[in-house]
């Protein structure tokens, strides 16, 4: 065996979670010093678990870890940091009300006379490091005010200031625009040149090809191989990830839009921090078409969806479904009007995690006549309904009595989709329907959404995933700063560079162009 300079060696790692999911099964992972190494795999493949083990957030059930050739036991993130391992989580771990500099030195703040935080020194530390690693930040800005891209840089700096030599980035591009992504990649390459080792977790094939040296592919909790990135094609990676060939492009017929179902006019909303989240938003969605809402997260999409399902009340404007205003209408009546919602935050709204699959799929229809005989539930009908949905929507589970908490992310989302699509909605609002789930489930859910629209439903698709929103939508609008800044009638000619310019507010269309989305 040739002698290689491995900075991290993980041998035979297995991990079984308390809920019985075997997330890692005898995984080997070797990291060369100074490389950018991708870990790829579907959701539930065990990538995050493996990295959590390396960062001391989870303890392996069995297996061995060597850092710089020494066997170590990483029992906490503090230990990982002491070993020079830093992690940038998918969901940022920053204090929004503190400044960038304060966040960077948090927990190790320089002090004056051991009592007061030396803020000037903190800013100085932040600036020095930002310069050294070429990560541009504003140390005095409050984290709540800075864009997502900069938050990520703050996270990276936080790790570097703490002495990390190995950086774990968990799906770092999930929340970034195309421009921000390419900026991040430049910075990562520059870090690599300075001798840092980077582990890069992602689903996105193109990015992996672009930036990494080697990649480890995981499937079903196991490692299925380590490859030099240059020697493997995107198709091959995707085949190894899912164990079969995946059609990444969505096949759909031309849309034939009919009458308007959803009519949103001049919607306005100012949040409690006095930030204008919706500014005269107007658009319509017609039967038989998918209207996409593109935009960097936090530009009013969440507020918009909340208004459409009465989870919040607008300050002004109107929302009509098939001619009826649904503002302040209780959710059961909104649903009676044929509206379904696949919520963005599936763990908060989409499911009751401790309830069974069965209890989750009937939550919008449990009081229907067919499921009740007298005062009691008609259990036979309910069992039949849930069994049918489990089969139709390919929910991988032991039985309908299994707790939803025990399922993988993709299967949890299938539970939500099964409920929301099987109610035969006239309007489906799909908010980030495939975020963070595996390729197989993504493909399945996208096909279901297209199917629904071609069978005559109006679909509003909100997605921060540019590829998804372009591929899936018939036409789309772009939101920036609470406004609709662009409308594209046809998504075929769109590319991510143009889109990125609108999404970042560099460009916007004229009011006349945008107003076309009202079809009046």
């Amino acid at each position: 065996m040739e002698q290689e300079d491995f900075v991290v060696q993980m041998k035979g790692i297995s991990k079984v979670y308390p809920n019985g999911i075997a997330a890692n099964r005898d995984v080997d992972f070797f990291l060369r010093r100074g490389e950018i190494h991708a870990i790829m795999g579907e959701n539930g493949a065990g990538k995050s678990t493996l990295m959590k083990i390396l960062f001391g957030l989870e303890e392996p059930t069995s297996g061995e870890i060597l850092v710089n050739g020494e066997p170590v036991s990483i029992t906490s993130p503090n230990k990982a940091i002491a070993l020079g391992i830093g992690m940038v989580h998918q969901h940022f771990m920053l204090v929004p009300s503190l400044t960038v500099a304060e966040n960077i030195v948090l927990g190790m703040a320089p002090t004056k006379s051991r009592l007061f935080v030396d803020y000037k020194k903190a800013v100085q530390i932040a600036e020095e490091n930002a310069d050294r690693y070429n990560l541009r930040i504003d140390p005095n800005a409050k984290v709540v005010d800075i864009p997502v891209g900069m938050k990520q840089k703050v996270e990276i700096l936080k790790a570097l200031v703490r002495g990390a030599k190995i950086l774990i980035l968990d799906e770092p591009t999930a929340v970034l625009t195309t421009q921000e992504t390419s900026e991040l990649f430049k910075e990562l390459v520059s870090l690599k040149e300075q001798g840092f080792t980077i582990i890069f977790i992602s689903h996105k094939l193109k990015e992996i090809k672009q930036i990494t040296d080697r990649l480890t592919i995981m499937r079903g909790g196991k490692s299925v191989g380590v490859y030099e990135t240059a020697n493997i094609s995107e198709e091959e990676i995707s085949r190894l990830m899912v164990g079969r060939d995946v059609i990444l492009e969505v096949v759909k017929e031309q849309s034939q839009p009919r009458e308007t179902v959803l009519k949103v006019r001049d919607l306005e909303y100012t949040d409690r921090w006095n930030k204008k989240m919706l500014d005269k938003v107007s658009f319509s969605v017609r039967r038989g078409e998918i209207l996409g809402v593109a935009g960097v997260e936090g530009n009013g999409q969440r507020e918009l969806v909340d208004m459409l399902f009465n989870l919040n009340t607008p300050d002004a404007g109107s929302v009509e479904v098939s001619g009826k205003s649904i503002i302040r209408m209780p959710q059961n009546r909104i649903r009676d009007h044929g509206v379904s919602l696949v919520p963005e935050d599936r763990m908060t709204y989409g499911i009751a995690d401790l309830a069974t699959i069965e209890e989750n799929v009937i939550s919008d229809r449990f009081d229907e006549k067919r499921f009740n005989s007298g005062v009691l539930f008609n259990m036979r009908e309910i069992h039949q309904e849930s069994d049918t949905l489990i089969v139709d929507y390919r929910i991988l589970s032991k039985s309908r009595r299994q707790q939803v908490k025990m399922l993988s992310g993709g299967n949890i989302q299938k539970v939500v989709v099964a409920r929301e699509l099987s109610s035969k909605p006239t309007l489906l609002i799909a908010d980030q329907p495939t975020r963070g789930i595996d390729v197989g489930a993504t493909e399945f859910i996208r096909a279901q959404i297209v199917d629904l629209s071609r069978n005559g439903a109006a679909v509003l698709l909100v997605s921060a995933d540019l590829n998804e929103v372009i591929e899936l939508s018939d036409s789309l609008i772009v939101m920036y700063g609470g406004k609709v800044v662009a409308y594209f009638e046809d998504t075929d000619k769109l590319d991510d560079i143009t889109m990125g310019e609108y999404m970042l507010g560099l460009k916007h269309q004229t009011e006349e162009e945008i107003a076309k989305v009202c079809y009046e």
Partner: protein
């Protein structure tokens, strides 16, 4: 054995282990504080069902039946708490509502003239309705104004108690008696013992067990119980699904009030001849203990109620017959809660079971996949 069953068994055994450990802790305290620890322990652990005579130990049927009798009000209050806690409503007014139910049932038992049979039914039903109505106070304050039901219901207990004491003192007191008490209940209103032997084991126990079944069905086989449980697990999900969260939150507390009111009146008309409670009876608090032990599952309520009754009796006997103070019961109960509530208790062992199940499942899956592969 299926994996579900194994984990169920584990949870059951964990509960048993928690109780055993708690008793062990109690034993340590008894050995520390008592000059006759073995005698004390004997009364604590065996006293409730066994009497010690010079001729030897014999099973004490009468004592056992009084234990069952003691379960009557606590089954009702346990069920009430189960329903309310299942909806994540930490309503603590069960205590006051039991007293109110007892008072209302008692008054009707004194002043209403009806035939026996009908009389008891009317007393208990009216008490139940009043109990349900009074729970509207914390429930509506929560839903309409966002006031914490925990705070309002806790205060409600004392409001109820003092209002009852006011009316007992100034309106309904039997002045011919030395102590403050009402006039006696009519014989037509009394809930009779199953066997007339002075154990106070009335038909109330049968009614209580019937309600265990009714509430279990209500929680797991009706749309209202389903809605209550979904709200308890994830209220945001329930709202988004179209469940009428406000209405169901009110419903859960009204059902709790109905059960508590019913329990109070049945206890009063079964055990006593006049209304003599001058403070909160404590059954409501025990109901919380019982609901926690039963993990909010109505079916386990009688078991938990029996256990609490046993422990209570054991401590009483120990206090009477040895030098250990009655307060020991608080230590034992507290340690049981500690072990019960501690999720991590025996977590390592649970993890080992989970790992074993997962590995076996994987092996089965792989075997199945292999078979499929060889077929194709």
């Amino acid at each position: 054995m299926s994996s579900d069953k194994r984990l169920f068994l584990f949870n059951f055994l964990r509960g048993a282990a928690a109780i055993l450990l708690a008793l062990l802790v109690a034993t340590v305290f008894i050995f520390l504080s008592s000059k006759q620890p073995l005698t004390s322990l004997k009364y604590l652990l065996l006293g409730p069902v066994i009497s010690f005579k010079s001729t030897g130990a014999v099973f004490n049927t009468t004592s056992f039946l009084t234990l069952l009798a003691a379960m009557i009000p606590t089954i009702f209050s346990g069920l009430a708490v189960c329903v309310m806690f299942s909806a994540n409503q930490f309503n603590l007014a069960g205590e006051g509502v039991i007293m109110l139910g007892a008072f209302v049932g008692g008054l009707l038992g004194i002043y209403l003239k009806l035939n026996t049979g009908l009389h008891q039914v009317v007393c208990v039903l009216v008490a139940a309705i009043v109990g349900g109505l009074i729970m509207l106070i914390p429930a509506l304050l929560k839903v309409k104004l966002g006031a914490s039901e925990m705070v309002t219901s806790l205060m409600l207990n004392y409001v109820i108690m003092f209002v009852i004491l006011h009316f007992l003192n100034f309106t309904f007191a039997d002045r011919s008696k030395g102590a403050t008490q009402s006039f006696p209940f009519q014989a037509t209103a009394k809930i009779p013992e199953i066997v007339a032997n002075g154990t106070k084991l009335t038909w109330g126990l049968v009614i209580a067990l019937v309600f265990v079944v009714i509430i279990a069905l209500f929680m797991y086989r009706t749309k209202w119980g389903y809605a209550i449980r979904m709200i308890g697990i994830n209220q945001a999900f329930a709202q988004y699904s179209g469940i009428q969260v406000g209405a169901i939150i009110v419903l859960s507390q009204v059902v709790g009030g109905i059960l508590a009111g019913m329990g109070g009146s049945i206890e009063m008309l079964g055990r006593y001849n006049t209304f003599i409670w001058r403070e909160l009876p404590g059954y409501g608090w025990l109901g919380i203990t019982i609901a926690i032990l039963a993990k909010n599952n109505p079916i386990f309520v009688p078991v938990a109620a029996l256990f609490i009754a046993y422990l209570d009796k054991g401590c009483q006997l120990m206090a009477i017959n040895s030098d250990v103070p009655f307060e020991m019961i608080d230590i034992i109960q507290a340690s049981i809660f500690l072990f019960f509530a501690a999720e991590q208790f025996l977590a390592k062992y649970r993890q080992r079971i989970v790992v074993r199940i997962a590995q076996r499942d994987l092996a089965l899956q792989e075997a199945a996949a292999g078979q499929e592969g060889s077929k194709s």
